[in-house]
């Protein structure tokens, strides 16, 4: 049984079919790349899987459970973490608060216990902060723990986003263009980090990416979308040489009458 399974998944926006009957299976421990030209439906597919937008048709199963109709916060609590295409950190929280926030809903003591200042809640908060600092230290960011995220560079903010997702020990980690806006040395670092997430912590990864270097070096398998339809699914070498994929990216023999954006 695949960890994540999408069956005939569709999403329409008015008359536009953003995702069209896509079948996608991600096995536990895999790094799967999701690529396609701009506007091909990659981000919509990610939003469907993580419950950010609702499904028009089809089903999504995670560890065999149907999660199609669940709200995104429930899906997150089942163990699917994600990052966003544009950096989306909480500006009014410190870096440390940003990364420990996902632990809060998973704590044994509730919000009321925390508001009443109960010892157990305070201990859990301290443990969360310690864990947050430990992970930030691993990414070389612990010195910024008390700063607002806006004090960090784009590359550092991306790392904070990774920490925020990793801190809960997700089973599936969906990364939406993590290399966007990163300098080449940081891209190298990112590749190493993603590989370690899988190799050392066994996290399954679904990676939406434009930077082909990242996709080629990391992915066990690549899925290609074009106009919301899955046009290829297989090992990176075969997929990147597939004539349909080449055509989707570079255009066929004739000029494309429609712009994609």
């Amino acid at each position: 049984m695949a960890l994540l399974e999408c069956v005939q998944l569709s999403r329409n926006f008015g008359g536009l079919v953003a995702v069209d009957k896509v079948d996608l299976a991600v096995e536990a421990g895999e790094i799967v790349g999701l690529i396609g030209p701009n506007g091909s439906g990659k981000s919509t597919l990610v939003n469907l899987i993580t419950g950010v937008v609702g499904v028009t048709g089809g089903r999504i199963r995670f560890e065999g459970h149907d999660i199609t109709a669940l709200p995104s916060w429930r899906i997150a609590r089942l163990g699917i973490a994600r990052t966003f295409q544009l950096l989306r950190l909480f500006k009014s929280l410190s870096v440390l608060e940003n990364v420990t926030l996902p632990l809060q809903p998973r704590m044994a003591s509730g919000q009321a216990a925390s508001a009443f200042g109960r010892r157990r809640a305070a201990e859990e908060d301290r443990a969360a902060a310690a864990k947050g600092r430990e992970l930030l230290a691993f990414f070389g960011l612990v010195e910024f723990a008390e700063r607002p995220p806006t004090a960090l560079s784009i590359g550092q903010q991306r790392m904070v986003e990774l920490v925020r997702a990793l801190i809960v020990g997700p089973k599936l980690f969906v990364l939406d263009e993590p290399a966007a806006g990163l300098s080449p040395p940081n891209v190298e670092r990112l590749i190493g980090l993603i590989r370690r997430m899988r190799d050392e912590q066994g996290i399954t990864i679904l990676l939406v990416e434009h930077v082909m270097k990242v996709v080629r070096e990391l992915c066990d398998r690549i899925v290609v979308l074009d106009y919301g339809v899955k046009i290829a699914d297989g090992d990176p070498q075969a997929v990147t040489n597939d004539p349909r994929v080449v055509e989707a990216y570079l255009g066929g023999g004739r000029a494309q009458p429609h712009a994609r954006g």
């Binding site: 916060w73 609590r77 973490a81 909480f90 500006k91 009014s92 929280l93 508001a115 200042g117 809960v168």
Partner: protein, 311 residues
């Protein structure tokens, strides 16, 4: 701890004020300040922390006040019984207003809160058989609190009421501070920044927003019960949209999401018209101009500016 000590000192200083035998006028002004501090700190939870702009704090204030008056009239309940019931009534209406916030945001939510405020005000003025209409309803003095037949204390004079209002304000600020400084406060700030991401990392945004509306309204309800007993009566004009707008101005000018900022805003906006007596007719114009200036030059309010200077 470093925050608790100054707060305790400030409360102690306020508790000593009546000992200096001040004028009744000063005590009256301070009681009004305390009421508005409760309203502004309450609104700060839903507006400053959770980011849901509500123009209905005056309505919840009114619900608390009328709950006190009606419970006294119909059931003969006294202050100590109506205080928790007024808080609960306002909280229940807060839950009701919280429901649209799950689907609406920004200006649309603000308009809904204005509609809610208007409906409550119309009910207070028009449903004469229940609310007394424009004439309002009488409320007795707080009187004595007795426990097992022993009189604990008596609250009849302004000076005695001052301590009661101070105590309720202290408790209200404690509640607001604990909520804001604990986990739910952090979740509110996250929702304020980016609701979609908050959801995506597993936060139950629906529940957190409702808690914000209920807590905010419940605090306003406490202020409402207090004002009903202080003025020994309720009338609709105290609970109009102007009250709501003034509390919004207190929160924005004082500094959103800081509790103490809006409390300071409440002090300034309550005392300013007294100091500038001559310009009373232009009060709202001055408030409006002040708010626009603040939003443009200090969007995070006075407290936000102080915080930035420090860091």
């Amino acid at each position: 701890m470093r925050r608790i000590l100054p707060a305790l000192l400030a409360l102690a200083a306020l508790a000593l004020v009546p000992l200096a035998s001040p004028s009744g006028y000063l005590l009256h002004m301070l009681i009004v300040v305390f009421l508005y501090v409760i309203l502004a700190a309450g609104l700060d939870l839903v507006m400053g922390y959770c980011g849901q702009y509500s123009f209905a704090q005056g309505a919840f204030y009114g619900i608390g006040a009328y709950a006190a008056a009606i419970l006294h009239r119909d059931l003969g309940l006294d202050f100590w019984q109506t205080l928790p019931l007024g808080v609960l009534s306002a909280g229940a209406f807060g839950l009701l207003l919280g429901i649209p916030s799950l689907r609406l945001s920004g200006h649309f939510l603000s308009i809904t809160t204005i509609a809610f405020q208007t409906i409550i005000y119309l009910l207070l003025t028009q449903w004469t058989s229940f609310t007394g209409g424009q004439y309002g309803l009488p409320v007795p003095k707080v009187g004595t609190l007795s426990l097992f037949g022993h009189e604990l204390f008596r609250i009849e004079k302004v000076r005695e009421f001052y301590f009661l209002a101070l105590a309720v304000m202290a408790v209200a600020l404690l509640v607001a501070w604990r909520l804001a400084a604990s986990r739910i406060g952090r979740e509110w700030r996250a929702i304020h920044d980016d609701e979609l991401v908050a959801r995506a990392i597993g936060i139950n945004v629906t529940r957190d927003k409702l808690v914000a509306f209920v807590a905010s309204a419940a605090l306003a309800g406490a202020a409402g019960v207090l004002v009903a007993y202080y003025l020994e009566g309720v009338s609709p004009s105290d609970f109009s949209i102007w009250t709501s707008a003034t509390v919004v101005a207190m929160v924005i000018v004082g500094g959103r999401g800081t509790i103490l900022g809006p409390a300071a805003g409440a002090v300034v906006f309550t005392l300013m018209p007294e100091v500038l007596r001559a310009t009373a007719d232009y009060k709202l114009i001055i408030f409006g101009v002040l708010m626009i200036v603040m939003v443009i030059f200090m969007p995070m309010g006075a407290a936000g500016l102080l915080r930035r200077e420090r860091s």
